[in-house]
Amino acid sequence: MTTKRTKWGALAAVGVLVIAFGWLIYGGLDSNVVYFLTPKELLAKGAEGYDKPVRLGGQVKPGSVVWDEKALDLRFAVTDGTGEISVHSKGAPPQMFKDGQGVVVEGRYGRDGVFTSTSLMVKHSNEYKAPTKGERPSEMYKSLMKSAGT
């Protein structure tokens, strides 16, 4: 009899633990899942889209880049052709960052209509592709060699 009771007690304890664990996991996931969205999708969310962790993917809108070299302050707009969101980020952009480049910014969309980014990644496929003319590394390298006089 006692062993049976202990068994049920143990099962109940395990049950309580599992439920508590599940609840914690659910809560953790609910508030920390990061959605991949395009500007159009984020704008479509309306007020629900504010102040949630988001990964925003799109192209850098040509002509929108404002880069303050001394303050390391970067502003630009991300577009997917339809929607457009202005982004504010601190720190130097990656070397390949330029007009029209595909980017993914992670951060939160503020109520002031500016997306504050904590990380900025240039999107590039893992497929091998020959670089187009003008962005060949060797050309950048040569111009640096020339000017540095090494």
């Binding site: 633990l17 664990f21 914690l24 996991i25 953790g28 996931l29 920390n32 899942v33 990061v34 959605y35 991949f36 962790p53 990964r55 070299e69 001394k70 390391l72 720190g91 130097a92 952009p93 990656p94 070397q95 390949m96 240039v122 590039h124 893992n126 091998y128 592709k129 670089p131 962005e135 590394p137 060797s138 950048m140 390298y141 040569k142 111009s143 640096l144 060699m145 000017s147 540095a148 090494t150």
Partner: protein, 662 residues
């Protein structure tokens, strides 16, 4: 020619494994022990054949034989020989070849060492190993065939992925990972063998594979640390752990096998947890296969997952097969799995191990769910999501802190009996050290509760575990009049498993201190500098000297020379670079690190003006990060001590040892 040799060797190995796997059980059922030599011969032959195939593929890579599909995919004439050889595991197909080879090696070795044992455990374990080998041979002949003909033969290839040829640690991390992952197949095979042979009541399957499990655990630990190190040295963000699915894939089975290393001691000493240990080992194996599936099928796109294809279904099918078979085997043996002992006192070593297992299992499920959630969300709701670092940190920090605490309490608690008055004496030095570290952390500016607790319990665990060495050695000094170092060496030598474990605990403490300090006190500065200008980070002044360019055989390099200045003198220089590979538009950032005992100065070149007039550089002060790598070495040293053969005890030496229990 090379291609045909390599491919046919795998085809024959497939046939041999299949025949062995069918023949083994027949020999056992008929009770023909004289037939077992054929089963074992299949295991050895498999090893020879896979070795031939692997060497042929390496030869193909080195001789730039682009008629082999794998070489055409990852080879290039300009790549240095070292990176050409290690591109064996640079992409999916080659890494499966390497996996099959490591498995064949383990199988041949473990069967050789145990071939003379009576009973059916070893034959069934050998059969299980052949079935696993068979799965990988099927992959190599089917969806992951690296030996397809290429026509017309190209003159040159693209070379390995730039990220994988940018650092020497890529030659270290993957082999360690495979040696760890695949090594876990050995205890799994013996667990299955024990169930097939009906030998689950004893713990022979655990004892025979103890060294193999510790070895695999050591390799897996080293692989995880080396992976962190690689990420730190190559990816340029100054961190070492991002809860990336690939990192998680190696960490999840580590959690279960670490739990297993502790829970088997409860079975050996008290005859409890037999069912649990079997399940833990089956689970660990399934998690290694799941990890390979996640990282190699391209299902989660991340830095490592370069490949796509049908191979995922093979993995899922194999995982399902293992789970169903294990379920039937466990059910069939359930009548033999009753516990011999029971929990006698709430405050005993057993309780500590039980709690430790509970926490490790919870940890495993947390990481597993966080890793798989994006897949489920995409499949079920069609949304692209990722589970961010905040989730993992929030869930895992309490677990890690609790585990650090248990790591301090556990070694001080005695088996079976409740704790006596002695306990206090064992805990006090640790508690004092912990308090000192916690206070130091608060004074230094730590305000996060978990951070302070981490320092507190890390110091506590360090004090208790180191205290065990002091107690044991001083008892020997008192009893035998030995010199301190001799006493310490003999103490460890006489009980390698126990003290190897404590050494590993100390390694964990060092890693924990490094992680706690670097995540609490990290400071970074990003600045655009002209030549001669300086930036100061955490009291270290860094000056930009010049930007430069250089042509190397397989790549072009742009770098910046940075000088660390102290009192007007240049005390060190660093050269963060960007490496341009012809196959990639994106430069590969190549940070430079200057290490000191108190931490690392981490330099990353973020951007440069093409005329060299300025560069943007990120300088990060990373306190205690070198301790993580050092702690990794200590962990591995603990594993080595635990694996080395036990020294023969002289009859008189034993009783005087402090603590008494092994």
């Amino acid at each position: 020619m090379t291609r045909l040799l390599a491919f046919n060797a795998i085809v024959v190995a497939l046939a041999v494994s299949l025949l062995g796997a069918i023949f083994g059980p027949i020999a056992v059922r008929r009770g023909r022990r004289d037939w077992l030599m054929y089963l074992y011969a299949a295991v050895y032959t498999n090893f020879v054949l896979v070795t031939v195939s692997t060497l042929a593929l390496v030869y193909g890579l080195v001789s730039h034989d682009f008629s082999i599909s794998y070489v055409a995919q990852v080879g290039s004439r300009a790549t240095p020989t070292f990176y050409t050889i290690i591109s064996l595991w640079g992409a999916l197909e080659g890494s499966i070849v390497f996996w099959a080879w490591v498995l064949a090696m383990y199988a041949a070795a473990v069967v050789w060492f145990n071939r003379k044992r009576e009973g059916n455990l070893v034959p069934y374990a050998a059969t299980t190993l052949l079935v696993v080998a068979l799965f990988f041979h099927v992959l190599l002949v089917g969806p992951a065939n690296p030996f397809q003909p290429v026509f017309p033969v190209p003159f040159d290839g693209p070379g390995p992925n730039p990220l994988l040829q940018n650092h020497i640690l890529m030659g270290v991390h993957p082999p360690l990972l495979y040696l760890g992952y695949v090594g876990l197949t050995v205890p799994f095979a013996f667990a299955v063998g024990a169930m097939l042979a009906g030998e689950v009541a004893g713990d022979d399957w655990i004892r025979l594979t103890r060294r193999w499990t510790i070895t695999a655990w050591g390799f897996l630990t080293a692989a995880i640390i080396a992976g962190m190190w690689w990420s730190y040295e190559v990816l340029g963000w100054g961190g070492y752990w991002a809860w990336d699915p690939v990192e998680n894939a190696s960490f999840i089975p580590w959690l279960t096998v670490t739990a297993y290393l502790h829970s088997v001691m409860v079975q050996e000493r008290r005859g409890m947890l037999k069912l649990w240990n079997l399940n833990l080992m089956v689970g660990t194996f399934v998690l290694t296969i799941l990890g390979t599936f996640l990282t190699r099928s391209g299902i989660i796109s991340s830095v490592h997952a370069f490949t796509q294809g049908t191979i995922g279904y093979y993995f899922l099918g194999f995982i399902a097969l293992v789970l169903v078979a294990a379920l039937f085997l466990v059910a069939g043996n359930s009548d033999k799995l009753a516990s011999d002992g029971r929990l006698d006192a709430p405050l005993s070593r057993e309780t500590a191990f039980l709690l430790q297992n509970l926490l490790f299992t919870t940890f495993m499920f947390t990481v597993l769910i966080g890793t798989l959630f994006p897949l489920v969300a995409e499949a079920v709701r069609g949304v692209k999501v990722s589970v961010g670092t905040p989730f993992f940190n929030r869930m895992s920090l309490p677990l890690m802190v609790a585990l650090l605490f248990l790591m301090g309490v556990g070694p001080a608690l005695p088996w079976k009996k409740g704790a006596g008055a002695e306990l206090k004496g064992r805990l006090i030095p640790g508690a004092a050290l912990g308090a000192v570290l916690a206070i130091a952390a608060v004074v230094a500016g730590a305000r996060n509760a978990y951070s302070v607790l981490a320092f507190l319990f890390a110091g506590f665990a360090l004090g208790v575990n180191a205290g065990e060495f002091v107690r044991g050695a001083s008892a020997r000094v008192a009893a035998h009049g030995e010199a301190w170092l001799v006493a310490l060496a003999r103490l460890v030598g006489a009980n390698r498993r126990r003290y190897g474990g404590y050494i590993a605990h100390i390694g964990v403490v060092l890693v924990a201190l490094g992680v706690a300090a670097s995540s609490t006190f990290r400071t970074e500065q990003e600045a655009t500098l002209k030549p001669g200008e300086t930036v100061t980070v955490a009291g270290h002044t860094v000056r930009f000297k010049a930007a430069w360019g250089r042509q190397e055989p397989q790549r072009e390099v742009i770098g910046a020379t940075m000088e660390l200045v102290k009192g007007g003198q240049v005390v060190a220089t660093a050269e963060p670079r960007m490496n341009y590979y012809p196959t990639s538009q994106q430069p590969v950032p190549t940070p430079d690190v200057r290490s000191m005992l108190s931490g690392d100065l981490y330099f990353n070149l973020m951007a440069f003006k093409q005329d060299g007039s300025n560069v943007t550089i990120k300088v990060i002060w990373e306190p205690l990060v070198p301790w993580i790598w050092f702690g990794g070495f200590v962990l591995c040293f603990g594993a080595i001590v635990g694996v080395l053969p036990q020294r023969e005890r002289r009859a008189a030496a034993a009783p005087a040892l402090a603590g008494g229990e092994p």
